[in-house]
Symmetry: C7
Subunit: 276 residues, 7 copies
Amino acid sequence: MNFLEDGFNNIIGLIITYGLRIALLVIAFLVVAPIGKKVISSSLAKASKRESVSEARINTLEKLVLNVFSYTLIFIFVVMFFGIIGLPLGPLLAGAGVLGLAIGFGAQGLVSDVVTGFFLLLERQIEIGEYVTTAGYNGIVEEVGLRTTKIRSFDGTLNFIPNRDLTGVSNHSRGTMRALVDIGISYDDNIDHAMAVLQKVCDEFKEDERFTEGPDVLGVQGFGSSDVVLRLLGRTENMLQWSAERDIRKRIKEMFDQEGIEIPYPHQVNVTKQTN
Amino acid sequence: MNFLEDGFNNIIGLIITYGLRIALLVIAFLVVAPIGKKVISSSLAKASKRESVSEARINTLEKLVLNVFSYTLIFIFVVMFFGIIGLPLGPLLAGAGVLGLAIGFGAQGLVSDVVTGFFLLLERQIEIGEYVTTAGYNGIVEEVGLRTTKIRSFDGTLNFIPNRDLTGVSNHSRGTMRALVDIGISYDDNIDHAMAVLQKVCDEFKEDERFTEGPDVLGVQGFGSSDVVLRLLGRTENMLQWSAERDIRKRIKEMFDQEGIEIPYPHQVNVTKQTN
Amino acid sequence: MNFLEDGFNNIIGLIITYGLRIALLVIAFLVVAPIGKKVISSSLAKASKRESVSEARINTLEKLVLNVFSYTLIFIFVVMFFGIIGLPLGPLLAGAGVLGLAIGFGAQGLVSDVVTGFFLLLERQIEIGEYVTTAGYNGIVEEVGLRTTKIRSFDGTLNFIPNRDLTGVSNHSRGTMRALVDIGISYDDNIDHAMAVLQKVCDEFKEDERFTEGPDVLGVQGFGSSDVVLRLLGRTENMLQWSAERDIRKRIKEMFDQEGIEIPYPHQVNVTKQTN
Amino acid sequence: MNFLEDGFNNIIGLIITYGLRIALLVIAFLVVAPIGKKVISSSLAKASKRESVSEARINTLEKLVLNVFSYTLIFIFVVMFFGIIGLPLGPLLAGAGVLGLAIGFGAQGLVSDVVTGFFLLLERQIEIGEYVTTAGYNGIVEEVGLRTTKIRSFDGTLNFIPNRDLTGVSNHSRGTMRALVDIGISYDDNIDHAMAVLQKVCDEFKEDERFTEGPDVLGVQGFGSSDVVLRLLGRTENMLQWSAERDIRKRIKEMFDQEGIEIPYPHQVNVTKQTN
Amino acid sequence: MNFLEDGFNNIIGLIITYGLRIALLVIAFLVVAPIGKKVISSSLAKASKRESVSEARINTLEKLVLNVFSYTLIFIFVVMFFGIIGLPLGPLLAGAGVLGLAIGFGAQGLVSDVVTGFFLLLERQIEIGEYVTTAGYNGIVEEVGLRTTKIRSFDGTLNFIPNRDLTGVSNHSRGTMRALVDIGISYDDNIDHAMAVLQKVCDEFKEDERFTEGPDVLGVQGFGSSDVVLRLLGRTENMLQWSAERDIRKRIKEMFDQEGIEIPYPHQVNVTKQTN
Amino acid sequence: MNFLEDGFNNIIGLIITYGLRIALLVIAFLVVAPIGKKVISSSLAKASKRESVSEARINTLEKLVLNVFSYTLIFIFVVMFFGIIGLPLGPLLAGAGVLGLAIGFGAQGLVSDVVTGFFLLLERQIEIGEYVTTAGYNGIVEEVGLRTTKIRSFDGTLNFIPNRDLTGVSNHSRGTMRALVDIGISYDDNIDHAMAVLQKVCDEFKEDERFTEGPDVLGVQGFGSSDVVLRLLGRTENMLQWSAERDIRKRIKEMFDQEGIEIPYPHQVNVTKQTN
Amino acid sequence: MNFLEDGFNNIIGLIITYGLRIALLVIAFLVVAPIGKKVISSSLAKASKRESVSEARINTLEKLVLNVFSYTLIFIFVVMFFGIIGLPLGPLLAGAGVLGLAIGFGAQGLVSDVVTGFFLLLERQIEIGEYVTTAGYNGIVEEVGLRTTKIRSFDGTLNFIPNRDLTGVSNHSRGTMRALVDIGISYDDNIDHAMAVLQKVCDEFKEDERFTEGPDVLGVQGFGSSDVVLRLLGRTENMLQWSAERDIRKRIKEMFDQEGIEIPYPHQVNVTKQTN
């Protein structure tokens, strides 16, 4: 019966040792949890001030981060508790290694989505309603989620794009846009005359409120196979560049018709050789 | 015979220690299992409310998730039980490492399929009967499974696509679609006249119930090598954009014939040089 | 000689402890093996009912899975047995890590093949005799193995494709197929007349039993550089779409010749300019 | 001197314990080695019967596999022996981890080569003298090794290809090949007449012993920009398709010349417009 | 009660042992922390001297590195403290392995961003206001962050590019640029004459202050299908190459018109053959 | 002072135990080292006989392998020695894990280079002076190293290629090469006549010692848009195929001029339509 | 107080044991450090002699390698010291695993850069001032660093390329270069005459000191659609190939004009067909 008593003693001893450790563990968590939450809140607050993020965005982010923090703490507590009690969670988890490897690889995309999504929001790379090109898609942003972003193409298609693919975002809604028109004139026309006419068109548009930087003639952009290419350049309000370009093109055509300047068709010199 | 007795005592001691642990283990599982199930059910219910998912979808998802949860619990129980008994499952699993590595890598695609499939369903990216473009395939969705999605191309082909490839889904069945017609007129024609005729065609189609946003003339889209390109734009009910475009094209041709506006063939200026 | 006796006692103690463990191990396996086999058989049977798989396929799958199961059990038993006996199989396997890493990476393709092959069979993505496009190959399936699939191209080539490459299978033998003919008419021809003639051709083919959904004229598909493109569309029995298209094309040519409608050559407007 | 004696006793105790273990190890290997060899031989023999592999191939494979098996056994024996003796081979190998990682990654290609090479041989995907296309190379197989395969291109180049690149093998020497000739006739020619002439050419070749399935006219394959394309199709003995096609082409040209059917040059309609 | 006393002794013994270790740990950190900070500061200072980095940059870098250093020290201290106390942080972290694998893979992009960003700053590869081409983007650098770089395209688009994609940076703002004009003359013109005229144009521009290395005629660059291509080459101040090229092109056209040298249209020799 | 004595005894006991182990270790290495060297030498010798490698190559390889073997042995000895002494080299190396991971990944390319380089030498895939195409480079091999291979392009460029990129080597210096000339004749010419003339040219070259397999006319290779393409084929001594082809082309042109057979220019049928 | 005394004894015992180990450790390092340094210096010296590297390069390399060696030794010493003292650095580092994984993956590029950079320097693949093509960049090398290489493009752009991308370096500054001119003559011209004229041009340039291997006519390179292509080939001093080619081209044009040999424009045979 000695071993029974020993076993009993042993168990009590274990309980004392374990009790001490569990107490330490609980205390550690009671200390860490509120501190962690405070740190998160205040650092987000600071970040928001520095980056001048809107109130709504901050609230969303804070809720999100605190959520993640709580789940992580609970997970850690459970694992450590089991570790102290001596239930072999270690080998269990190691045992899950084979499965875990597969899951880890399979789920890395998910983590990558969330990490990228977090920075998309924090760095304000895209916002709802902006016109962006990214990951081969092109259109107006409809929603930026933690995992997927929805972009509405101009043909009406709704594109769901996992955030991990959003490396390299071209945001077309952040500033004035370029209006650029290339126009070819005949090799027989006088360049100075054509440039004067084009500048007259440009001057007409200088008053147009769509333009923030009046269009101007740049000069001879290149020698085409059948035409001398001249270039006009201006800057317009965002999203108005296309209509501005369309109106400039129409006006150039009218002025060229009036001034007798030709927009040439492709030319070919035919050398005739008679045979048969 | 002393060692025999010792061995006996030893074994009883082991049984007591182990018994205690096993009891704890069983209790832990009896507690965790129902809680886990409840958490899953209620969180899915909440998610469904927030995202307004249909009843059927929720049931499917719930059954699926509870299934996965049960299998995981059983797996964990078995591993922990063996761990407590002292059967070296740890080294066994470590021993399976070489094989496991190969399996883990080989099976990651499977996990990736399931993870993506789960989000396809949850985020309602595609639903049966929708017209989508994804992973280079294009057609009507016939089935969305956890591992594969079936898309029927318009030529009748049935495509089986592993969900992991469905990153970036273009869903063409979520809203009104764009109807766009580009039409070239001769450099000799009057642009204002042509635009007036085109607008008349547009006005005829404004009453057409296929259009949600009546077609309109945008202006001079560009200077082609032989024609001035004008653009018409409208928005139609989903999937009716093609027939709308076809009818507009037919009507434009008829009006242009009537008004004597030319849709020009490619032009070339021939400069003749006599030799030989 | 004291240590000799001690060693002896020690060994007997070991034998008893080990014997107990080995007994437990053997019992565990005697319990697990038949249960596992039953579970496999019945779950496959259920799966087969749900998916209405043919008897032959089920037998093949069952034999395959049971085989894999047996080998795995034996492997596990051996590893655990060595583990109990105390032969350091753990370090051995860890020691095999360097080699194992190389093997694991090298063999992952093999595992990937088998996993994909399993699902190819289970999900009935392709069956022998079907016409499929996958992994850049195109032809009739000759054999679907666990590791490789054989596809016979139409030019007679036999392609061996590892299953891992079969992500995304386009199966052309699952349903009616589309017959589509695009035909260009001259800009000078009357569109209504041409469409009436084409519809007459379509009506002739409506009785053709190859067609499941009679061909019909869709309308003006586009403005080519020299022709107005009209489109005909129908659906045919599987694999008969090509011969149907060929016959429609021949009939259109005959009708157009008869009605004096021109299928135009490329046009070019020549503007002549005399020099030199 | 007490510790000396203790040390001595200790050593003898170790020797006994170790001796027992080493004995067990040796016995285990004496049992495993011949069994393993038998299993390999018989399973290869079975496999050869099922797949009807030639005797020579089986011998090659058997020698190869037994070799690998022996080296693996020796490696395992050494590691386990060191493990029993207590020489820390475990940490050594763990210590080799950094290096091992590099080696493992660097050598995985080698393993991949051997695994693929093994299946190339076992599944008879390619054999010496066959005409194959794989990994972007195209030619006659000169040698299939475990690590590299040699393919002789038709221009005389000898290509060394690591087996890992041989995923997806197109073997052109496994069955009859397709002979296909597309021929364009003028839009002005009568299709029925042309098809009758082509069928006559086909009938001439039906007796040709190169053809296993006489060539036949399929019909109107498409409308080219300047010609109506007709298609002929047949099947020939392996590797004779090119000469067959060449002879058909020559015969068609002769018959067309005789019957006055034109193989048209590209056509263009010139609309002349006088200016300047 | 013996075990109670033992347990008590045991605990005190533990406290002494642990106290000693903790003391050592604290001392180690009190020593390492200031040394580390000093090393960082001084090595950055040295680096700045050698690379002649601006004061501001150094301060930014120092603050950044010290921050990272502090967080790392705290993390290490916490982990070691728990390790000494005996709370099983090891298994916990191992337990986090599955999750960690996913996170590790998912977050590697983030680390890669920071590492690359650090070197972008340190090596001064790009600075705000420079014109660069990198990762397929092209424009003026607006901001270089640790994680993302912002580049403003010339059309006004703002591009957010994760630093990991900035491998290979082409910086167009570091030195004089090339002005290159290719000009085709007729096969009938005299090459020497044309080159003399071109050199005269070049000489005119030699005084132009945009040019740092006066433009010169190189010679006959190639034989085009219709023209002999001559090349002019010079070097200009940064960002002035385009306007310089435009002005040279305009001047060449004027001089060629004056000297009667032709910039030829594409030529074609027409061999006429009468048929039908 | 008891603990001092105990400590002393303890140390001596350790020395004896360790001494024994170290002795075993040293003996093991004294046995393994010469055996390993012999095995390497003899197996290389055998390999050289079987593959008939030159003496020089064998010596190079032997020195190389023995070198690697010695370094490995020393590395193993040091690690095991530290392991026996009890210095925690294991954790050290584990501690180097983070760094090691980075290094392992970074250095895998190096290992991959050496492994591939070894097989390049052993399998004689390329030798100095041979004309090869590999990894997108094309030229004469100047040096085959363990890490890099140097290939001299025909334009004089010296290419340094890491061996890991040399997967798939096309060696153009291993056997006779193909000389192939395609020649187009007019649709109006008689095919039989042209083939007879070409065969006459071929016969002239049959005596040419550059040809190992006299050139012959194959037949009608295809119908071009303006010509009937005929093909000539022969085999020449290595590296003489280009000059052979050049001479055949020149001779064909001369014979065709003599026989009045036309090599046709591109043809186009012009259908003239008068308008405006 | 018994446990206090025991604890004290225990500690002194620990100190002795630890002292012994630390002493051994210190001695080991005092032995290893100078030996390592000597080995590095002498092996570099030997390598330099064998490869005839310049003194400066050797000094740079030596300083670099000694630096790396010192840091590594210090790192190892610290880790081992902590290991002996019993501070759980092992778990700490294991604990850093999750982070480490991310860092390891993120930093592997850095390691890869350094490894490649080291070999770039050692193998003298590129040197400052050489003209190279690598990683898609093309220009003059300005700096070869351990992490990045700077290449100045000919248009003035400065390219920063991480060394890891420098796999496969084409060095254009190592030897004489090829000058190659292809020139097309009319099908109507006499080939022998044209080749004689070209050879005369070549002979003129044979005296040119830019040429190391006088240019020569190779023969008929091919039949173009409108011209017979002849090829000239020579070898020139490095970097002088372009000016040599330009001068040859100019001279050929002059000689051809003089001899009446035509460089033909593209030809087309027009078959006229009257309709409408």
